[in-house]
């Protein structure tokens, strides 16, 4: 029998016992829905975690340091190739070279310093961090109170929520107010004074050209900043999140402040030439998948690198196990539903015994009868799968809605808890179809083997 005729006959048979077949299909739909709901939760959580971690700046960033600096840290994650390359200074030409690497979005220095601020006449100690303008677009500041910096060099500040709580019980009221940032500015000395010993030092600061070849003094400064926003965490924690910034200012501002860094003294003692150099640079990569290749390229350039790539791999493994467990639980319902298919089709054989006999008498081969029952099982699986995906998606949305209502009451930003990607839609329908065919094997085989003479005698 041709496929078109087979489909028509199967559809006709399914319509004949509409109620029973609909209930069986509904059983499959519920099974698929539980599978889809479980997996969509797993996928949603994975995407949520990946998104948060990506936005944290940990997984798409490579920290680049001069090898001499890394030796100070105990030399993390250096391979043999990197060891073989000569140590290079992390200066502006190197920064340009890094920016030109494939998959590199931007390269910026790490500016993070301990400071004191004055707010409402009271002093507060904290850590400040410079935030690049690119951070605005990566979604990390979604849901923050207030706004991101109005301009790359705006004298503005964003507070981390815990720090904001120290400043005021009513954190919302802080937005729009002003604070004073106290910091230690590295100030250039005239060249003739550098020859003098004692309190002067030979400066080779990262950002001050006028310091070139000169020593420096440290002067206390103060800068007024307007609070424009409050964020839950510092999204771009940079160096593995250590010493997270609680007061965030535009990176351009942070660089112009010429803040004295603890490494300034070390650089001076090393007797470097006085050219611009950086303690470390953060290389932001297009996506976490490109981190490894970028890291390899940087190592070949003669720099030390640090990233949390391995942690990403482990995270992926954890989610694969998690998804598998959810999938197994979800499949249990589908297994029960497949028993419903077997039951329905076995009942259909009993009811249609005579019809099967007639079909065989008219020339139907065993194969035709088997395919007819397979087609009926497959159709139930297909429609059950489609309905199940819709139902599973709806369950996921309902869970999402309920979660976000709860989060809103807690004053937290909304999240996307469940996700039904296209691959899940296709796999769920395919799996349902496949399971239904497996379930249809026994009834189909039984129907095909019916003795036509016996079947024709059946009343």
């Amino acid at each position: 029998m041709k496929l078109g005729d087979l489909t028509e006959l199967a559809a006709r048979n399914l319509r004949e016992a509409m109620l029973r077949n609909s209930l069986t299909t509904l059983g499959i739909a519920v099974g698929v829905a539980s599978l889809v709901a479980m997996l969509s939760l797993g996928v949603g959580l994975q995407e949520l975690a990946s998104s948060r971690l990506t936005h944290s700046g940990l997984f798409d960033a490579v920290i680049v340091m001069s090898k001499s600096t890394m030796r100070g840290f105990g030399g993390p994650q250096q391979n043999e190739a990197a060891d073989a390359a000569p140590a290079r200074r992390l200066d502006d030409p190197a920064r340009k070279e890094l920016s030109a690497l494939p998959n590199v979005v931007e390269v910026y220095p790490e500016v993070r310093f301990p400071t004191e601020i004055v707010f409402d006449g009271k002093p507060f100690s904290t850590t400040a961090a410079g935030i690049p303008e690119s951070a605005r677009a990566d979604g990390a500041y979604d849901g923050m109170k207030g706004n991101f910096f109005s301009a790359p060099d705006a004298p503005e500040a964003i507070l981390q929520i815990e720090f904001a709580k120290q400043l005021s019980d009513n954190t919302d009221s802080l937005v729009g107010k002003e604070l004073s940032l106290r910091y230690a500015e590295r100030q250039a000395l005239p060249p003739d004074e550098t020859a003098k010993p004692s309190t002067r030092a030979t400066n080779k600061d990262a950002s001050a050209d006028e310091d070139e070849g000169a020593g420096f003094s440290v002067v206390t400064r103060e800068k007024k900043l307007k609070i424009v926003g409050i964020v839950e965490t510092e999204p771009a924690a940079g160096f593995g999140g250590f010493g997270r910034g609680r007061l965030l200012i535009p990176l351009a501002i942070a660089q112009t402040l010429k803040i004295a860094q603890p490494t300034d003294m070390r650089e001076m003692l090393r007797g470097s030439s006085g050219k611009v150099s950086y303690d470390s640079l953060t290389v932001r990569v297009k996506n976490p998948a490109a981190v490894q290749s970028v890291e390899d390229s940087i190592k070949k350039m003669g720099f030390g690198t640090f990233s949390i790539l391995d942690a990403t791999k482990n995270l992926r493994l954890v989610f694969i196990v998690f998804d598998s467990l959810l999938g197994i639980f979800g499949s249990l319902a589908l297994t029960v539903a497949s028993l419903g298919i077997i039951n329905t089709l076995v009942m259909a054989i009993l009811e249609r015994r005579r019809e099967i006999g007639i079909l065989k008498a008219l020339g139907a081969a065993d194969r035709d009868v088997r395919r007819l029952f397979f087609a009926e099982a497959g159709a139930m699986g297909l429609f059950g799968g489609i309905a199940g995906v819709v139902l599973g998606w709806a369950i996921g949305r309902a869970l999402n809605f309920a979660t976000n209502v709860y989060l809103k009451r807690q004053g937290l930003p909304p999240i996307d808890l469940s996700s039904v990607p296209l691959w899940l839609v296709g796999s769920a329908i395919g799996f349902s179809f496949f399971v239904s065919l497996i379930a249809g094997m026994y009834p189909a085989s039984r129907a095909a083997k019916l003795d036509p003479v016996e079947a024709l005698r059946y009343e």
Partner: protein, 235 residues
């Protein structure tokens, strides 16, 4: 094994069909050898349990003999695979049953079309073939009716149209008038005779009605207890 194709439409050689009934074996057909020539109208006559319907099922390829050989146009059904038997049922023979055996949820047209679907006849060709078969049994006006909307005689004519639609060479009828009144039964028998004469189709009809057999069939084969009792050409 096959035999040379001659004028024989059907030939059986010592055909035996034994059923296992618990511990005992019951021979429903026991060593029957007959020959039916192409274009013959043969009546298989016998009382209930004589084995005539079992023999008809064997000729149709619905059942397999325990021993012996059955040749249809020279091909031995006993040696055919399940698929080949299905092809035989679809293309070589057409069957008419006492209980009509129409599918109740299909219209007359759909019932008649069913063998064409099973024989994988092209969709475009089917309406004409259905029309031809239905015209032959004079049921054109009832094409869209379901079996429950037809009389017994009409149902049997529909069943006959379904048997003819694949243009078989042999028509096997199992008590075709058994469920009909005398007048309607005669009309069906007239139709069978007409088909036999106009199409030259070989007809083997099982019946226990000696009067009808003698009136319509060209030859009567009588069976009893599974054995061949007599085989005579009616003059």
């Amino acid at each position: 094994m096959s035999e040379p194709t001659g004028t024989h439409a059907i030939r059986t050689e010592h055909v035996t069909r034994i059923y296992q009934m618990g511990e005992s074996q019951v021979p429903a057909v026991n060593g029957v050898s007959i020959t039916v020539d192409a274009g013959e109208f043969v009546a298989l006559l016998g009382s209930s349990g004589s084995g005539k319907s079992t023999l008809l099922n064997l000729l149709a390829g619905l059942d397999r003999p325990t021993s012996g050989a059955i040749y249809a146009h020279g091909k031995n059904l006993a040696e055919m695979s399940s698929g080949e038997l299905a092809h035989h049922r679809s293309h070589t023979v057409g069957m008419v049953f006492q209980a009509f055996n129409l599918l109740p949820r299909m219209t007359l047209e759909e019932n008649v079309e069913l063998p064409l679907r099973l024989a994988e006849v092209e969709r475009a060709e089917r309406p004409a073939r259905v029309r031809e078969a239905v015209d032959r049994v004079r049921l054109t006006a009832r094409l869209s009716h379901r079996p429950t909307e037809l009389s017994g005689g009409e149902q049997q004519r529909a069943s006959l149209a379904r048997a003819l639609v694949n243009r078989p060479t042999i028509l096997l009828a199992d008590e075709p008038t058994g469920n009909l009144d005398s007048h309607t039964g005669d009309a069906i028998m007239d139709l069978l005779t007409e088909i036999n004469r106009t199409l030259g189709m070989t007809i083997v009809m099982v019946t226990h009605d000696r009067v009808r057999a003698e009136r319509y069939a060209g030859r009567i084969i009588t069976m009893g207890d599974g054995k061949l009792i007599s085989d005579g050409v009616r003059v």
